[in-house]
């Protein structure tokens, strides 16, 4: 195809590893491979590298190094936070509050706890994906031991009022966990100021490697272990440390948080140019998520009369990587739980497209997508009986 280029607009799914990050990691695969738990001098380099990364993560969140625990990714951090707090505090109560738009790592962990005697309230969100603070307050009972609400949504990009939620939780003496996997590097986070007790993050969302993450646990929070075994991570998380991964996470979070404002401005400018172009060029299009309170790189739109998987396949033919909330791409019956929670009808949710911009993208990428996408949408609409009906005014 003439003029075809590779355009990666799925940064919310995962990112590439930055060169500076990879370079920091490499020696820990080959030369400095020592097990951090070993006593000899050679292994101390490994131990020091992990503590150095821990300090970087702590600094990025305004936490103490002793409050950072490395995990095998974001899902493990979520599972640990939720199950660990639930089981360690079950003498105080059995009630957990979360939302309907959480990542499956949170939702399925909560569903698991429901099978083990816990009760979970799944808060509704408004049409923009925002949690209602009054509804949150009303949901709290004397049995509530944990509130877990994501910082920013992975599909629609909506950013929750985390500091306000943290304040409510602290006043009531309830432990507050937030899944900040999408937020790191996009939103300034201060766990002290925001009254966050636990926070999950994953390196591969901010230009670090896959398979490594961290859980921040505020000093004094009662939590059981999830992974039992050796004495690593101060006896809280067993298993020989993913040394190169942890080193990469440390470098990546340092880079991602050194200039959040500058990074956001650059990405938001590209995003707005793309979003405005889409809304201008493609009729019967709806923006999903909050118009302002959203991640700088996130676009989520629904094109009426067409289905998302076929849209992705055509975009792929033009070298464009994106994602959808349509059921047809996942093989399940229902479209994305997030799009349903913000009140989209099924047929509109099936026509959703998420473009998540990041450091790989340029103005040329944006212009290329704008030159390709309207034609693709029109091509699918020409094929759609729904569009035909609509144009004939039948419905």
């Amino acid at each position: 195809m003439e003029g075809k280029r590779f355009v990666y607009m799925d940064h919310a799914a995962t990112t590439y590893v930055k060169k500076e990050v990879l370079e920091e990691m490499l020696p820990y695969f080959t030369e400095n491979f020592g097990n951090p738990s070993s006593v000899y001098t050679f292994a101390r380099k490994s131990k020091r590298a992990i503590e150095d990364a821990r300090e970087k993560v702590a600094k990025a969140l305004n936490a103490l190094p002793d409050e950072i625990f490395f995990t095998g990714g974001g899902s493990e951090a979520d599972n640990w936070a939720i199950k660990g707090v639930a089981f360690a505090n079950k003498d105080k109560g059995n009630h957990i509050i979360t939302t309907k738009i959480e990542h499956h790592a949170v939702l399925h962990a909560c569903e698991y706890l429901e099978k083990h005697g816990f009760e979970v309230t799944y808060l509704d969100v408004d049409e923009y994906g925002m949690v209602d603070l009054d509804e949150l307050k009303r949901a709290i009972t004397d049995k509530t031991i944990l509130i877990t609400i994501m910082f920013a949504n992975n599909e629609i990009g909506t950013i929750q009022p985390i500091a306000e939620i943290g304040k409510i939780a602290r006043e009531k003496g309830i432990i507050f966990h937030t899944d900040a996997v999408q937020a790191i590097g996009n939103v300034k986070i201060d766990v002290k100021e925001m009254n966050i007790d636990l926070l999950s993050l994953a390196a591969h969302k901010f230009y670090g490697p896959k398979g490594v993450g961290a859980l921040y646990i505020r000093k004094g929070v009662k939590i059981d272990n999830l992974i039992h075994g050796g004495g690593q991570e101060r006896r809280r998380r067993a298993g020989t440390e993913n040394l190169p991964g942890i080193v990469g996470l440390g470098k990546a979070i340092e880079l991602a948080t050194e200039d959040i404002d500058g990074h956001n401005e650059k990405i938001r400018k590209l995003r707005d140019r793309l979003l405005n172009g889409i809304m201008e060029k493609i009729p019967y299009t709806k923006l999903n998520g909050h118009p302002e309170r959203r991640l700088p790189g996130n676009i989520n739109v629904s094109f009426r009369f067409i289905e998302g998987e076929s849209l992705l396949l055509l975009l792929d033919q033009f070298g464009i990587c994106a994602s959808t909330g349509s059921a047809c791409s996942s093989g399940s019956l229902d479209p994305s739980h997030v799009l349903l929670a913000i009140g989209l009808p099924h047929e509109i949710a099936h026509g959703s497209l998420r473009l998540s911009l990041g450091d790989m993208n340029t103005e040329e990428d944006v212009d290329y997508v704008l030159s390709v996408l309207p034609n693709i949408v029109q091509r699918l609409r020409e094929m759609s009986p729904l569009y035909e009906k609509f144009m004939k005014g039948e419905k």
Binding site: F305, I306, E307, E309, S310, L313, L314, Q317, S326, A327, C328, S329, G331, L333, P335, P345, H346, E347, H350, E382, M383, S384, P385, L386, Y387, E388
Partner: protein, 143 residues
């Protein structure tokens, strides 16, 4: 999940897309709520499928199945078209992923519906099939 080259070829270059203004048999099946809907137009003359067109809202497999199914019944007798099974559509596409088999069922169902629409319009008894017996929820297959 990966599609065969044949599916991608039919998805990228679908045959018989469109409407037939003087169609004498039309069948519409599926539900936009479930993410797929198919409409088949037939022009039948002397018991032969002279022309066939389709419009489909759905995934790549749904569009490819519509394209292949219409190709397979073009020029055939009404009886031959009726006997086209979803398996034959899927096989002609070099297979469909298991979760996408319902797309080929949708194509078979749409053709049946269009043929019965033609029969009713011509004062004939509609034929019975597994769909008219109530087994028409194509989504049962992956629930």
């Amino acid at each position: 999940m990966e599609y065969s080259d044949k599916v991608m070829e039919h998805f990228m270059n679908p045959r018989n897309v469109g409407e037939i203004s003087d169609a004498n048999g039309i069948g519409e099946v599926g539900n936009p709520k479930c993410g797929d809907m198919m409409k088949i137009y037939l022009k039948i003359e002397d018991n032969i499928i002279k022309d066939v067109k389709f419009k489909t809202f759905g995934c790549g497999a749904a569009i490819a199945s519509s394209s292949m199914a219409t190709e397979l019944i073009k020029g055939k007798t009404v009886e031959e078209a009726w006997n086209l099974t979803n398996k034959a559509v899927a096989e002609a596409l070099d297979g469909l992923p298991a979760v996408k088999m319902h797309c080929s069922i949708l194509a078979e169902e749409a053709i049946h519906k269009a043929i019965n629409d033609y029969r009713i319009k011509n004062g004939l008894e509609p034929w019975e099939d597994k769909f008219s017996k109530g087994d028409h929820d194509h989504h049962e297959h992956h629930e």
